[in-house]
Symmetry: C2
Subunit: 561 residues, 2 copies
């Protein structure tokens, strides 16, 4: 994301940073050895006893970090999340982080690591980017155990009369593996199972990931697992995990994965890094249990949501906070000058040169997201995440544009300077939080699914309306009849544009959103609304990052950056 | 395996047992906090520093626990392994265990747990049977990352000219999932990959499991990974992981999995539980790194090998100890009266009634395995693992049969009594180890593959000879030409019979072994010799054990037994 070469890489910075034993980090927030389940010296899970103890404590303020529509130029949302928490601690506040844990698939593919960057990282960066505490492996296992149990049910007499053509539960791996997108399973004759079409998603796209991230407890997790729709029977009625009777086994497989993971930043800010669902077919936020635990352990919790504010923040506000029963205190919208210039019409290779007109044009994207957050009734600050190629004039222009619109904004340099680079942002944020806020959501749960979709499209995307494809129309009726109309909607839209067309950057207008299909995620507790093709199993590039990875004789990771 | 009902179940006994913190167990064998990487309070990995430190220490005696040919009646080899080590400690010796870690697939299917039984268990039984320290998940991930990289190579131009019809690397999951045995991947059009036939093995059947278990260090692991054959090119030459250039990434994924896991028995004997390859298409023993580390930490290491002595012990002695460069001190052969009665011709439902003629007939199976171990020049003792339905006359008859053949034997009651039930066995074992031994293997590495196979078939199985199918004959020539003739052979034969016909119980004679096909496991360092169909992906039964599994509100496992 950030320029390498003259700067140290993330893994170099990470390795030079001396971590405290996680027991000492825990002690800073009042947790003792019995509150922790250790995974090595620098990672720990919060025990069920600890989580139960926290339930009764008063809650601190939750600050959401979101962003403009992402571009290939990068915005650095996780980096700002980490740096802002470090900065809040630097100015004497008691702050923690609650953020998503990375998926291994993209790490092996293009991205390298995903735990912040520069001097605003969570550590141990290598462990967090590899197996961490095994949460994703547990989800993969539960996902595929369920798939095996479904196919076994077909093979052993199909008592539930599952229609093998209408099994909606897919298999999953935490890898980028395009060859598994569409497969045929059960080949080889009668003792090898029932042949049928199937496919694999990347693990973070499994409904179990969304379920784990929205569960309020182990028991709630089990109830949600039980409600997941796995197939339709010969009468086209939904068949659930509860019908199969295996929610107990799945919950058993997930009993440790559901506990939040405690780690630290380079500046030793405590961070709960836990869960990481897709931000299109799911809600894109770390676990409710992590956010809630953090809010009981600190006065300020900095958390993030996936993609831009049109997807991540909308779902954080309309799905996660509603389900979990809390209200955020403020929002930070991350933007970079490079990304705004792309929204203003430049190509990626034109970004290194100063271009004020493009910046001014691209500002429209940021302005729309600011309006959206204001529409939720929440105080907010723009974080202009500094990049090496930004010119002084560009920076001044952007800050002036914000000021002209009375939008509070601050230049942040947390990538280069850690918390010290976010002190001004922290100050402005504390300032805007003094004003009284009046949080309101985009729709009520009592609205119909159609009304909910319309509300998000118009208010959050700026669309002129919504077109429903024939299949979606029929599903709207079916879903209301199944009793699913009371659920919130989870919009699966391209992250690159406010519209459903990824090439319409900036602030498009006069567009309608086309809803192609709906998908029930009843365990998670939302209806996924598909507005286009969503890739739920990425592929690897021609030269995967894996080719550069290695491990030295002492067990140190090489090639994660 | 053992009668439930009037007795407590394994999980009940396990939960009633109070564990010591693993740091205290470690302290008993001279290890400090820096030698350990904690996974909760009761599991730890030995650090690379610790392993390096142990390299120079003197080695204790290694005792192998093996068994007669297994039957559905059960033998309790793991139970005796645990109980014997407990007993050795009880009589004042310093003993440890090195044993395999269980696979999750069978746990979800039929078996329930696999960490010993009764009062001879390793703890925490529930954790060990679920995700443990994530070793199997890391192997699954590495296995499937490699598969994804191979398919990506095909998709991105196929520089290595891999023949998509001759890719021998399969995908893997640690589940029983018959529908994945034979699949077609890469469907859906040109951007979804190259369509081809594929299949999934259970993770313990992955060559990476065998590689991890035979590796002497992280660097050796990487070298072995590099040598694994993944496919053949258009000229039918083998293509390896090294050709693809991803051994570093795979080693990185396995850097923690390669470290042995320290746990404790109910009687607080230290146990390294690490690795668990198949005992047919692989060598069926826990990791070399665990066995070696244990032998430097204790005066006696009790270890085990899969299935009966014809498979497990043969491979332990001809593959593992040769590769790792050590000699065992003694062998224990486990038998039960029930299983011998099945070898004597009874059906499973006839075992509860006293039947001396059947026992006498079935003794032939035990006698053959005793002869085999004697043929290796090793001292041994028979462990008659007591079962509730055994009559006094049956027990006396079996011990008399042994005595008549001058075979040392001891009744063990470790399931019911823990170490106290194995004191007599421990005493006899210490006695036979006093005599000088002259260990010799079945074949030399300089023998041809054909000679090696013949030697095992005649000396270990008692076969009259070996028939090679035409395909195998051609492969023998090809493999010798590839330079693979210097490797040991890893026989994949039914575990139920000394012959390659699973219904020939007891001690069959006058049979030939048919070799159907060979398979190179060049990373592991052996040639797999297939004598029949080997199931490398189990299926689930009509009522999987998963249906009884659950987790209570405090996170305790239910239904693992």
């Amino acid at each position: 994301m950030e320029t390498k070469g003259k700067f140290k890489t993330d893994i170099e910075i990470a390795r030079e940073s001396e971590m405290l034993p996680i027991t000492e980090i825990a002690a800073k927030i009042g947790l003792g050895p019995d509150d922790l389940e250790m995974y090595g010296k620098h990672k720990a899970k919060l025990s069920f006893d600890c989580l139960a103890k926290l339930e009764t404590k008063e809650s601190g303020k939750v600050i959401l970090v979101t962003a403009i529509n992402p571009t290939p130029a990068g915005e650095g949302k996780s980096t700002v999340t980490v740096g802002l928490a470090d900065a809040l601690n630097k100015v004497g506040k008691k702050a923690m982080i609650a953020m998503r844990e990375p998926s291994l698939g993209p790490t092996m593919g293009i991205k390298g690591g995903a735990a912040g960057g520069g001097y605003a990282q969570v550590l141990p960066m290598d462990e967090i980017n590899l197996h961490f505490t095994g949460d994703l492996h547990a989800i993969t296992t539960a996902n595929n155990a369920l798939a095996a149990l479904i196919d076994n049910h077909l093979q052993q007499g199909n008592e539930l009369q599952i229609d093998a053509r209408r099994i909606v539960w897919k298999r999953a791996l935490d890898l980028n593996d395009r060859a598994l997108r569409k497969v045929v399973v059960g080949l080889g004759g009668p003792i090898q199972g029932v042949p049928r079409e199937d496919g694999f998603d990347i693990t973070v796209a499994s409904e179990i990931m969304a379920v784990l991230c929205l569960a309020s407890s182990l028991q709630d997790l089990k109830s949600r697992l039980s409600r997941m729709v796995i197939a339709y029977n010969m009468e086209k009625k939904p068949v659930t995990v509860g019908d199969l009777g295996v929610e107990g086994a799945l919950a058993l497989l997930l009993k440790d994965a559901v506990k939040p993971n405690l780690v630290q930043t380079i500046e030793r800010t405590p961070a709960l890094v836990h869960g990481g669902p897709f931000a299109n077919i799911a809600h894109g936020c770390n676990s409710v249990m992590a956010t809630k635990a953090a809010s009981r352990l600190a006065d300020f919790v900095v958390t993030e949501a996936g993609f831009g504010a049109d997807l991540g923040a909308e779902k954080f506000l309309n799905i996660k906070t509603r389900d979990a029963g809390f209200e955020p205190a403020a929002v930070v919208i991350v933007a970079t000058i490079r990304a705004l210039k792309m929204h203003g019409g430049l190509a990626k290779n034109e970004l290194a040169v100063e271009n004020i007109p493009a910046l001014k044009a691209g500002f429209a994207n940021l302005k729309k997201h600011a309006e959206t957050i204001a529409g939720f009734g929440l105080p907010f600050v723009i974080a202009v995440n500094k990049f090496i190629t930004d010119t002084d004039l560009e920076t001044k222009t952007l800050l002036d544009l914000c000021e002209a619109e009375s939008i509070p904004a601050s230049l942040t340099e947390v990538w280069e300077k850690g918390g010290a680079g976010g002190v001004e942002l922290a100050g402005k944020l504390l300032g805007v939080m003094d004003a009284p806020s009046s949080f309101r959501r985009t729709y009520d749960l009592s609205d119909s699914l159609e009304q909910k979709i319309e509300a998000v499209a118009r208010q959050v995307y700026g669309a002129s309306g919504v077109d429903f494809a024939p299949k979606a129309k029929k599903q709207l009726a079916d879903f209301e009849q199944n009793g699913w109309g009371v659920l919130p909607v989870c919009m699966a839209k391209t992250q690159y544009s406010l519209s459903d067309d990824p090439v319409k950057l900036g602030r498009p207008s006069g567009f309608a959103i086309t809803v192609r299909e709906l998908k029930p995620s009843i365990g998670a507790g939302f209806i996924v609304v598909l507005t286009g093709e969503v890739m739920t199993m990425p592929g690897l590039p021609k030269r995967p990052a894996a080719l550069n990875m290695d491990v030295d004789e002492d067990g140190n990771a090489i090639g994660l950056f």
